[in-house]
Symmetry: none
Subunit: 527 residues, 2 copies
């Protein structure tokens, strides 16, 4: 059996990472992308913890997922509370998720010193919680918290915990290396012992990277019999992070003869890494395994002739296998075939314009070199393609804008007295229009001014709504003078799209992304 | 034998990393630091490759090193050239380094297809080169290039290569996982086979991280009998990087019962990581094992009481063991215990102000509810605490600012013609000051204006540098009118800090974060 199930926890354990805050729309877009990539399970969050997670479990039910199953995360019932009376378990059931994952303790001392209950009561909590959820017809994953520390301290009790979950009907028991401190030989030995004791039970593995061994520990568990691997995209997570699910998938598929997402979808690995990172307002580190911009970078000249003679000596795997490239410049669109496929997604048939494809690729590379990123900016990419094909018909053109922001006194708190005003001069067809908009902020003022200027000509602009706005500084070594990339997410009643603007000036970058967002929206409506 | 030798290649293989360029002085300072840390061998570079490396090997001889030995790096003699006539070997000898490390091929196909010579000639090159260098009285390390790929392809030939080096007297044979593609179970099996075949020979290991397993592969080699580990500080290196020598040292010392630098010097681990990173003009990634700023970070509130009851459940090792510190992340869930711990990190003793603690917690909660986040904004949190304790002494106060951004034409590309101008009116003590700054963007213009206004009073502001600037829109349902959170990272020569600003207006939010960044920087300098 070399099919290994993948279980993504980016939206739950990954979001524990400092600095990551995902909006509801972000979470839904990540679900869609991971589903398309072929991930088997996507853990969405704690269904009871806050309004955003509650709304997530409602909204996600409307997504037309092709493959992935959504998991809601919680704990076993509380001590001295019956499973059927437990509020947390009831929230899990109410979430509507087809899979529920509950974490329970397996380390004897943690039960007695932290949970402050008896070892027997903890076994009851595990058994009753799993049985109760199974009785609701749900698929149940039992996350055995601190299993490896627990096993080292008291193997009999740790085994009794997973046996209780197993006998109560848990579909998968995922052994959690919660502290991240174990080493591969320990993980392999302990998982093998569990697999021997419970030969019929599906086992999974959940690791953290505190010893720098999360990937190796996960692979060691698979060698010992685990068939489900938990992790997060790019290893995002608190402290040192979780297992990077994407690296594990690549290692399993390319080096251990296992199947996770399959050879074809594995070629999306790099773009999935980039998409999720950008959505989290982060970057894939340049030197990240498989997906980093430098992962297959070679010093020019030094090796070039040697690479040509004996490529296996310089690459542990072909970069194309994971959608990366041997060059420095990495893009989902780096090759003609992928650009054609991407364009087709956007409803543009590039195959009919073979003469333009190289020109477009060159332009994309040039733009990505100065800071554009089209991974999350389908709208801007579609406009760029239309422009190259001579099919771009702008709905308006700018003559100039001026933005003024005034502020008085340093209140130190959430001040509301700063005022922004934007004046734009714009042409629609042969008419010139001047409009001034106000806003709490300068981009809002520009947005208001633009809408005011064009609404008489394009009343449908009222249906186009900006829903998210992100800013990244691309060269952190030059502070506020650096290149700024703005990504705007916009939606109408049919869906949402991303657009990108780049400039040394945050207002100009915002304006460029804003123009694309409205242009693409009007173009969609017009089609 | 649990003494494991450490061999650092930061100055040679690490410098292959894109973006790292070390001056001669940088290299010498890193040598001194690694020597003080207790590294056994420090590979300094290629003594023949450029004037800087030639000068390095001269200058390093004058350093009063306490423990480390300097290694010069090169290759076996060229094909069809006698070892005593080989220019590269002569350069190694002339370097004056007491240790020479020569790399030689061990993968049959690489010999025939890339080196374009016979298998026998390659064996001669290895044997003669090692013997020649030994005859000069040098310590010789043989780096067996591509050993693991070579062994998998033709074990007999790979073994013949290392046997040739061994018989010629190599002091250490370091098996190189050159491509970075191997997995721990493969490395362990192959090193064990070599150790069995050459029981008297000292073996070492040199890995790269392309499969995300460099640390685990190095540990696996030690388990199989290697007693010397090569790596680079922070894993710096080309592609995905080398083995992070510091992580391996910590794992070996804390988890495998080995001795590398010893318990006492292990407490310098984090500062060595930071020192080398800063010298390379890079940072230690926040989520790096052992040494990252977040490696021992915990969400406040949620776990604080549990950590107090059972700390082993939340830390795989004590952060003090590696010179790092536990960080409590202040969040919406913060409790008193974690706030007090966090304040202590910042050098503020809240325990002496018990009456203020609840007031501060309430204020933090109120601020986090409107969008502030102090997880990544230690600087703003410190100022807030000072304010509550009546100890905040602002270096300047704002009367008003005005920002104007002008743009003409919609160029559609990376336009450079938008201009920003900021005028600020500010009070320092009883003096009023008006200054105007320009910038590529509005925040840069504000930063310039502020610095211009205060530099005469606080010339030390010139040492404070903005290095990163992030923006998040917090309520995705209201687009550009939403609450904006700006987080700025600032550094001086002693470290870096984060500050946060929140407003409906991105410029005002930026201003607030900017003021905190400068205020906190001036406060640090003043202390």
């Amino acid at each position: 059996m070399n099919r290994i199930l993948t279980y993504d926890s980016t939206l739950r354990d990954g979001e524990q990472c400092e600095g990551i805050t995902l909006s509801l729309e972000d979470k839904l877009r990540i679900v869609e992308r991971l589903d398309a990539f072929g991930v088997d399970f996507i853990e969405g969050g704690f269904p009871a913890s806050n309004p955003k997670d509650i709304a997530f479990f409602q909204r996600v039910q409307d997504l037309p997922l092709k493959h992935a199953r959504i998991a809601a995360f919680g704990s076993t019932c509380k001590k001295d509370v019956a499973a059927e009376d437990d509020r947390g378990l009831a929230d899990l059931v109410a979430s509507g998720a087809p899979v529920v994952t509950i974490v329970g303790k397996t380390w004897d001392e943690q039960v007695t010193r932290a949970l402050l209950t008896t070892l027997d009561e903890n076994l009851r909590m595990i058994r009753d919680s799993v049985a109760h959820l199974k009785a609701q017809g749900l698929m149940v994953v039992f996350d055995a918290e601190h299993f490896f520390d627990g096993y080292k301290a008291n193997a009999d009790y740790a085994m009794a915990c997973v046996r209780a979950a197993s006998e109560a009907g848990a579909d998968s028991i995922d052994l959690c290396e919660t502290n991240g401190g174990a080493l591969p030989h320990e993980v392999e030995a302990i998982v093998a012992a569990v697999a021997q004791a419970l030969p019929e039970q599906q086992l999974g593995i959940h690791c953290h990277n505190d010893s720098g061994c999360a990937v190796a520990n996960s692979l060691a568990a698979v060698r010992a019999g685990a068939v489900q691997v938990q992790g997060t995209v790019n290893g995002f997570g608190e402290r040192v992070g979780n297992t990077d699910l994407l690296t594990v998938i690549a290692d399993l598929e390319l080096k251990m003869g296992c199947t996770c997402v399959g050879e074809e979808r594995l070629r999306d690995l790099t773009s999935v890494a980039q998409f999720v990172a950008e959505t989290c307002n982060l970057s894939v580190p340049n030197h990240h395994p498989y997906t980093g911009a430098s992962a297959f970078a070679h010093k020019g000249g030094l090796h070039a002739s040697a690479i040509a003679r004996f490529p296996e000596a310089y690459e542990h795997t072909r970069p194309e296998a994971v959608g990366n490239t041997q060059r420095m410049l990495v893009s989902e669109l780096a090759g003609k075939a992928s650009l054609i496929a991407k364009a087709k997604n956007l409803g543009i048939d590039l195959a009919q314009h073979a003469d333009k494809t190289q020109e477009i690729l060159d332009d994309i590379k040039r733009r990505e070199a100065v800071g554009y990123s089209y991974e999350v900016a389908d709208g801007s990419l579609a406009l760029l393609l239309q422009w190259h094909l001579g099919a771009y018909r702008p709905h308006f053109t700018l003559e100039s804008f001026r933005v003024i922001v005034d502020d008085h006194e340093d209140t130190g708190a959430l001040a509301k007295d700063a005022m922004s005003e934007a004046t734009i001069k714009i042409h629609v067809g042969d008419q010139r229009f001047v409009a001034t908009g106000e806003g709490a902020g300068p981009v809002g003022a520009l947005d208001n001014a633009l809408r005011m200027a064009i609404v008489a000509f394009y009343p449908e602009v009222a249906d186009i709504e900006l829903v998210d706005y992100k800013v990244r500084i691309l060269d952190e070594n030059v502070g506020t003078d650096a290149i700024t990339r703005v990504v705007i997410t916009t939606r109408d009643k049919h869906g949402s799209w991303g657009t990108v603007g780049v400039s040394e000036n945050i207002i100009e970058a915002s304006w460029n992304a804003l123009v694309d967002s409205i242009e693409y929206g009007l173009m969609r409506i017009g089609e």
